[in-house]
Symmetry: C2
Subunit: 200 residues, 2 copies
Amino acid sequence: MASVAGPEIERLIQLLARLPGLGPRSARRAALHLIKKRDALMTPLAGALQLAIDRVQVCKVCSNIDTQSPCTICTDARRDPTTIVVVADVADLWALERANAAPGKYHVLGGTLSPLDGVGPGDLTIDALVARAHEPEVTEIILALNATVDGQTTAHYITDLLQEANVKVTRLAHGVPVGGELDYLDEGTLSAAMRQRTLF
Amino acid sequence: MASVAGPEIERLIQLLARLPGLGPRSARRAALHLIKKRDALMTPLAGALQLAIDRVQVCKVCSNIDTQSPCTICTDARRDPTTIVVVADVADLWALERANAAPGKYHVLGGTLSPLDGVGPGDLTIDALVARAHEPEVTEIILALNATVDGQTTAHYITDLLQEANVKVTRLAHGVPVGGELDYLDEGTLSAAMRQRTLF
Ligand SMILES: [Zn+2]
Ligand SMILES: [Zn+2]
């Protein structure tokens, strides 16, 4: 292939193939699409990437990514400063924002504890979270972590660390997804949904 | 969303979502992945795109894309100059090259005739193909077009035009599944179809 389309195109395909969701075949299609849409897509994309390279940074307060630090959320005076929603990843923050589900500010851990993958507390922003939890205005830490073994291990670890902070530590409710069918739910979810049932 | 991550990141996501194979959700994941792999992936990708923007061009002979014109294939003295393999798209050329299935040079039509989509002969490189077919050294035109209605319509149209040229017109054997597209075929099928090409 390299000898056919030239090393530049081959390199572009290889880099595109490293994006999540694109395999070798779809990377080739994406490269061709870009080359065909040179002015309408390839040039704007190259520019957008360069702009992101130049401007995107990690928020020094919450570890969100933004083009400013502290980030737009940390500096938003309309957001409840007493509540911090803890997420593993910026993708989770984005998901909660799309759902308009978070009442306050955020804290992005940068992952979850995972002994098997060699991820320990020092690899996450846990120290910064503990420091924020000790700030006088903060009254609640909401752990919005995946309902997986690693997510719940991380939640327990953080909860223990926050014993001495004067905050309430909560986590997302388990339950039936909106639009979900009972017949397809696992037993753990069904049991939790039953225990945490609410008045209709 | 735009107010959360900043317009630069939102724009990057929107552009990534226009790549084939990436929807809005996978474009967000791709953008985050790029931002996290800033030095290892985002910067190289921006550079590869800019290099492609600067260097990729359409071959003036066969309409292949390459960083040189005439392209690497057109200038390759080891390739049989008597045979021209006609494909609709560069993706099909790449597929045949991966299968090492084409004996000679290529001609990229830039699509297939499609009255419903408003694609007529003037939108394709058919005139250039007819001119090449009249060159003395060319003895065979292999129509490697999709086994779809549009592909076969295009094959018939070209065959009629080439009646006056002193060439044999062949097409890929019916190892190609009816309704199938070349770019999705395995290499063995492509090779067999090339070997068993028949007189049109
Ligand atoms: Zn922040
Ligand atoms: Zn060429």
